[in-house]
């Protein structure tokens, strides 16, 4: 190494080693997930302590038993609930976070810097300080047990992360377009709907994606507010497989449904990967 005529070979060797190392580490990283998917197809009695990735016998009995769900409600219902909840959440965020971001990013008004500072502070606020009063509030409205405590906040732009993400994006758009549209007779609503929203669509896709991801996985609120099995979402229903003190009776069914719960996220991630990267690098969104 280091000798001039060996430089090229040593570079190739180093590159190959780097690739091999990255691949090996990557395999180690996703091994548990791959194992989970493979094991969900193993007969229940073979899951235990079989670290292999090639099942000795393949069965779908775990999916059949897991799909039965909990308290007479099947996973079909849980999946439908989750999808519906996520869809409404996305609509709410798209509507209201975009509106707030347009105001902060483009409009001039008294108190803008103040409200923007307030918004930035709420970004850092742990949710727990508002938890109890929100619960009491939603309970007096009679909303506990329904999706309203989870979904209404989405229509009030409470996900400050997304407002921030969109403000950043909207500020990066050229102002000349707004001005041209204004000269052509567009009001602020016209600029918003005809210029800003179409141009900001990459950021909107990012927001929709993360809204889906977070709502899908937001176990805490689902645990608090969803009380009846027929309203359970996938995440909330998975919890019913784990008994108090953590005992699991039907491991096969549990792993099968857990694997199935990941499928929508996988599909979205690989289909829209660049939007994920954009969202993470602009706001530091945690996964």
């Amino acid at each position: 190494m280091g000798l001039g005529n060996n430089m090229k070979t040593s570079r190739v060797v180093r590159l190959t080693l780097t690739h091999l190392f990255i691949i090996a580490l990557g395999l180690l990283m996703i091994y548990p997930i791959v194992w989970m998917i493979v094991s969900s197809f193993k007969p229940n009695n073979m899951i235990f302590s079989d670290p292999g990735l090639i099942p000795k016998a393949v069965t779908i009995e775990n999916y059949v038993s897991g799909w039965k769900g909990y308290a007479g409600t099947s996973f079909g219902r849980f999946f439908a609930n989750s999808f519906l909840m996520c869809a409404v959440a996305i609509v709410g965020n798209l509507l209201t976070c975009t509106m707030a971001a347009y105001a902060f990013g483009r409009l001039k008004f008294v108190g803008r810097n103040f409200w923007f500072a307030v918004m930035m502070i709420t970004l850092m606020l742990p949710a727990h300080v508002t938890l109890v009063p929100r619960y009491i509030l939603f309970n007096t409205f009679g909303w506990v047990g329904s999706y309203l405590p989870i979904l209404v906040p989405k229509f009030l732009a409470t996900d400050a992360f997304f407002v921030f993400l969109l403000v950043q994006f909207i500020r990066s758009l050229p102002k000349e377009l707004d001005e041209a549209a204004t000269i052509d007779g567009c009001g602020q609503f016209g600029v918003f709907s005809r210029i800003i929203v179409p141009l900001a669509s990459p950021a909107l896709v990012t927001m929709a994606l993360f809204t889906f991801l977070w709502t899908w996985d937001d176990f805490f609120n689902q645990l608090l507010y969803l009380t009846r099995p027929e309203t359970f979402t996938v995440a909330r229903a998975l919890r019913t497989f784990v008994g108090d003190a953590g005992a699991v009776s039907n491991w096969g069914g549990t792993l099968a449904m857990a694997a199935l719960a990941m499928v929508p996220i996988f599909i979205l991630f690989f289909a829209l990967q660049k939007y994920f990267v954009q969202g993470i690098t602009t706001t530091g969104i945690k996964g």
């Binding site: 690739h19 990255i22 990557g26 990283m29 996703i30 548990p32 302590s49 509507l95 976070c97 707030a100 105001a103 902060f104 001039k108 008004f109 409200w115 500072a117 918004m119 709420t122 850092m124 606020l125 742990p126 949710a127 727990h128 300080v129 508002t130 938890l131 109890v132 009063p133 619960y135 906040p153 229509f155 009030l156 732009a157 409470t158 500020r171 602020q188 899908w216 996985d217 176990f219 805490f220 998975l238 784990v242 008994g243 108090d244 003190a245 953590g246 699991v248 792993l255 857990a258 990941m262 996220i265 991630f269 990967q273 690098t281 602009t282 706001t283 530091g284 969104i285 945690k286 996964g287």
Partner: protein, 337 residues
């Protein structure tokens, strides 16, 4: 990112604008506030009001099942938390009622602090190491990046928490693997109080993906010429790392540190699932938020839960302030611009 946001604060756009007519001025403000209405309403009703309310609740014995008997107990809830520090096991509240201290609060605090102070640095170091590895002219980097991000993508979910339980049980996958290479007498990692928290730290470090992506974006900003100049001057890779990479990356390190620290304090799902809704064996995984949930929703002591939430807010606020203060020493904002 941080730089841009401070710029937004300072830019005084309103007074810089052209002088409009008074009608135009009001109209412009009315339109702007219309766009802001949902957020403003959300802030007032779902953030500001609950914060004030929970601060008040934290000085009361509010019980969700009997809200009518709520009484002001002053610092009672706070004494309930920190009484054991002063050697108290019970004390008389301002109502005259004798209150018992919470024997598990300090445990939950120490579990959470241990978790934060171990998992966050480990996660950042690991994320930086992988980012450095990826920051080379390699083919397929975007594919590798995607694969490394998968654990982060799924990591916070109930599904993964359930999987983690399975992996680290006595007859789980990890012991299966360790057994295959000759280890014997392996413990049940999840059910052993010495190791249970460690498995959750591991779960957190495994989810290093978003820190890695942010580091990678930061590394790409460092001009190649700096390294070339340094190697002309005879600096080796290690010297380059400490005198170029680390200083120029320091704002990104600060950013990742703050974000990860704040979220680590609030970890819930994993602890809840792994402990089956409780604090695990000997409360070894009794996380702060889990304890808060149990107090508020299992025992309905929502006044106490509110007090716990406010202490959490203070802890996070003070630690974040300390980190930002300390950044004067170790974060350089110079050459990166």
């Amino acid at each position: 990112m941080i730089k841009t946001s401070t710029r937004l604060f300072t830019k005084n756009s309103f007074f810089m604008s052209k002088k409009p007519g008074i009608v135009k001025f009001f109209r412009r403000n009315a339109v702007a506030y219309m766009f802001l209405t949902p957020w403003l309403l959300g802030f007032l009703v779902l953030t500001l009001y609950p914060m004030v309310y929970s601060l008040w609740l934290s000085f009361t014995n509010y019980d969700f099942t009997q809200p009518d008997s709520t009484q002001w107990i002053g610092l009672g809830n706070y004494l309930k938390m920190f009484g054991p520090v002063f050697g108290l096991s019970e004390f008389t509240a301002s109502t005259g009622e004798v209150m018992r201290v919470d024997p598990y609060y300090l445990k939950s605090l120490s579990v959470t602090f241990t978790y934060v102070f171990v998992s966050v640095p480990l996660k950042l170091i690991f994320a930086l190491a992988v980012a450095l590895l990826m920051n080379q002219k390699l083919r397929g980097v975007s594919f590798y990046r995607a694969v490394y991000y998968i654990p982060t993508l799924l990591g916070g979910s109930v599904a993964i928490a359930v999987l983690w339980r399975k992996l680290f049980e006595k007859d789980g996958l990890v012991n299966g693997l360790l057994g295959a290479i000759g280890f014997t007498d392996l413990p049940g990692w999840i059910t052993n109080p010495n190791y249970a928290l460690g498995t959750l730290v591991l779960l957190s470090v495994w989810q290093f993906g978003s820190s890695m992506i942010i580091f990678l974006a930061g590394l790409k900003q460092i001009p190649e010429e700096y390294y070339e100049a340094a190697s002309v001057d005879g600096a080796n890779k290690v010297q380059q790392f400490f005198s170029i990479t680390i200083p120029l990356l320091s704002p990104v390190i600060l950013f990742n540190l703050v974000i990860q620290m704040i979220s680590a304090f609030q970890v819930f799902t994993q602890a809840y699932i792994v402990g089956g809704g409780r604090g695990g064996v000997l409360n070894s995984t009794l996380f702060y938020t889990l304890h808060l949930y149990i107090q508020g929703w299992t025992y309905h002591e929502m006044g106490y839960a509110s007090a716990m939430a406010w202490v959490l807010l203070l802890i996070i606020g003070v630690l974040t302030a300390i980190v930002f203060r300390s950044s004067n020493w170790w974060v350089s904002y110079g050459a990166g611009e």
